[in-house]
């Protein structure tokens, strides 16, 4: 499956890109993060503490164990600081 992955705030800075397209067979968000962590050091650094990371699947907030079935876009970012 082809997924667009977006990064925001310090996750974006650590990964070094705002957006990339990946080919993956990850079943869940957690699987995808594990796959990325194993790929390169910069991902391992960005996702070293999973409690500091929030995700959205297709523009909706999701848990780490959320399924990626039919997903088109995953966003990974730190806890939000709006308002």
């Amino acid at each position: 499956m082809t997924l667009d992955i977006l990064y925001f705030a310090w996750v974006r800075e650590r990964v070094g890109t705002h957006k990339e397209t990946v080919e993956t067979s990850a079943a869940t968000v957690a699987d995808l993060l594990a796959e990325l962590r194993n790929r390169e050091e910069r991902y391992a650094l960005a996702f070293s503490d999973l409690s500091a990371v929030r995700v959205a699947v297709d523009q909706t907030l999701a848990e780490l164990d959320a399924s990626l079935e039919n997903a088109r876009e995953v966003a990974i970012f730190p806890p939000m600081t709006g308002g």
Partner: protein, 149 residues
């Protein structure tokens, strides 16, 4: 029933006039304005607001819909700025109108609590010492508990 994500400033009085118009069914109108607060030592130079454009409006509309479901609101507005702001600048506002003050107050607090930690905005503070992403506060996460039912 309006949501706006914008770089431009807004005028509180005008925003409320646009929202309420000539209506006569609103007895209570609450607004919250968030402003860039300087550091105690005056060292903050700028605040940069990043967001997730494809998701932001959708998230704000969902938060607004939840508020309208829980309280008797006759008017509701969310404006959130993005980009570079300076100390004293307006960051965002919400307005809630209702027949009764308790509904307007509670809905505005609810909107703010959800905007703080469930809408995809991230703040970065710039000072002479460098730039730092603002940490999310535990107290903001805890503020959500009181709305659980």
């Amino acid at each position: 029933m309006a949501v706006s994500v914008q770089t431009e400033d807004f005028d509180l009085g005008q925003a409320v006039r646009d929202l309420t118009g000539d209506r006569t069914d609103i007895g209570a109108l609450v607004t919250f304005t968030g402003l860039v607060r300087d550091a105690a030592d005056g060292s903050l130079e700028a605040m940069e607001l990043e967001h997730y454009p494809a998701m932001t409006e959708k998230a704000l509309r969902e938060i607004e819909a939840q508020a309208r479901e829980r309280w008797d609101l006759s008017a509701c507005l969310i404006i959130h700025r993005v980009g570079r702001l300076e100390p004293g600048d307006r960051i965002m506002m919400v307005a809630t109108g209702s027949a009764h003050r308790r509904d307007a107050f509670e809905a505005a607090e609810f909107l703010m609590d959800f905007l703080k930690s469930r809408a995809p905005f991230w703040k970065k503070e710039h000072s002479a010492k460098g730039a730092d992403w603002v940490d999310a506060k535990d107290s903001d996460e805890e503020a959500l508990y009181r709305w659980q039912r």
